[in-house]
Structures are given as structure tokens and as C-alpha cells.
Amino acid sequence: MAELSGAEIGLAVSVFLACTVEAVEALTIVLAMGTTRSWSSAMSGVGAATLALAAIVAALGPALTALPIGVLRVVVGGLLLIFGLQWLRKAILRSAGLKAKHDELEIFREEAETARALGGKPAGFDAYAFTISFKGVLLEGLEVAFIVLTFGANQKHVALAAVAAAVAVLVVIAAGAAARAPLARVPENTMKFAVGVMLSSFGMFWGAEGAGANWPGGDAALLALIPGVLIAANAIVWMLRRAVPVAGVEQPAPVEAGEPAGVSA
């Protein structure tokens, strides 16, 4: 087996983590539909969405890899960076307690309750279970397809990215089948944080290269960029925790100029 370069390992890890997170979210929706409505219809929805995603990757993959490398890098780098900063921003806000974390059990309960409230489970094909499962898998999968395509095309290794995504899906399906419940204990935000760091770092690296910049040390610059982004993101979380007040905790009133602290009028 050919040895993988550092960038290729980064590609595989990023795609695996991103795909795991999205697969966990999709699994919650499918489980809710399967247990409350119809497993066969929910699984038909999953199959149809998987085919749609495969078609998107198959159609856009060759088109992207046909682009000249300079254009590809600046376009893909820019898109990855925009995407990565979105992931990182949300992960930072969640880590700092400014945004609610994904609660798979709560989402499962809500989806199941809505499905039960509709009542009238049909004997045959259940259009509701099919549609909700299809939409859930397609929407969660689109982000992964985008990452697989952009990362893979840039490294000329769409197959490696697709394999990493497929392994992630299989791991999540196996864990879901074993647990027979939403995977609430997966550290989703930590994984999203890691994906945000990786996408932002690779996006910055490729985008600048595509725009004509030369990184000191070439590919080795990634060894500074990835920890650099990670440290900056953690520093922002630390500052937010110190600066933003906790909900429900009364803040001390500002001290008037000329008034000694701790003395009330």
C-alpha cells in the first residue's frame, strides 16, 4: 500500500470526523422515523438520499478535478475556509456556552413526538417516514459531500476522501445498531471544533497557494497553521468564558465615578 502524505492523512481525518458528526445527526432522525413510523419506509428514504449524494459526487467530482490546479486551489481553498470558519464559529460559541449544544436525545424525542402526533400509521409505504429520513440524510450528507469533493479534488484523491466518509458512516451505523438509540455520548462539539480547525487551516493554506503565495517550508507550513488555528480558537473560547456573563447571575452594578467601590448610597 502506498504511504499517505501528511496532507492526505489530514484529508482522511477531516472527512472522517465531519462525516461521523453528520452521520450521528442523520441517524437520530432515521431512528425516530423507524421506531415510531416504519423502518422499511425510513430505510427507503436513506437509500434514495444516499443515491442522490453519490450522484452529486460522481457528477461534480470529475468536473472539479478537471480545473487547473491554481484555479482549483484558490476556489476550493476559499470555499473550505468559508465553510471551516462557519464550523469553527459555531463550535467556539457552543464551547463558550453561548449556543446550545446538539442534544441527540432531545432531537430524537421531538422528532418521535411529531411523528406520533400525526397518527394513522399506514399499513404499507409511509410517505412521512420516507420524506423525513430522505431530507435528514440528504441535508446532513450534503455538507459531507461538499467536503469530500473539495478536499478530495484538491489532493487529487476523491477516492480516499470517499473511503474515509464511507468508513465513518459504517462506524456510526454499527454503533447505532449496537446501541439501538441515538448516539448521545459522541462528543459532537469537540469533533466539530476539530473539523473547523482542519478545514480553516487547509483552506487558508490552499487558498493562499492558489492566489500565488509561497508558504515558508512548503507543505510543512501546515504543521504550524493547524496548531496555530487551534490555539487561537481555544484562546477565543477562554476569553468569551471570562468576558460574557452567565445567564441568571446578576452582575455587579457599575461603580459611579468618584464613588468608592463597595459603598452604597
Binding site: G78, Q86, I92, N214, A232, V246
Partner: protein
Amino acid sequence: MSRVQAFFSAVWDFVVGDDWRTALGVVLALGLTALVAETSVAAWWIMPLAVLALLALSIRRAARGATRSG
């Protein structure tokens, strides 16, 4: 909203997300990198600085007036 409008709106939401200023900042930083790369001055440092600034500003906008859970 027509189907075409809905399609472009979905693409916009998917790519740009809920902070268009960050997306615009990335495009401008890449443009500046390309301009500086044409000169004899090193251009690699522009993107890390831009990313740090864009991330900090985006978080600042999101955190303005917010409180956090315990």
C-alpha cells in the same frame, strides 16, 4: 418565491451561511494575497492574519449582548 430563487437562496445559505461578512472577508483577503504575490513582497502572512481577524470579529458580533449557560 420561484423555484430558481429558492435554489439560489439554498445555495447561498449552504455556502455563505449566516455570516456573509466573513465570506466577503475571505474573498477580499485572497484578492489581496494575489495582488501582493505579484510584487516582490512575501504574501503568505496575509491569510493567517485575515483568518484570525475574521474569526474574532465574527465571534464578537455573535457574542454581543449574549449571556452564556452556566
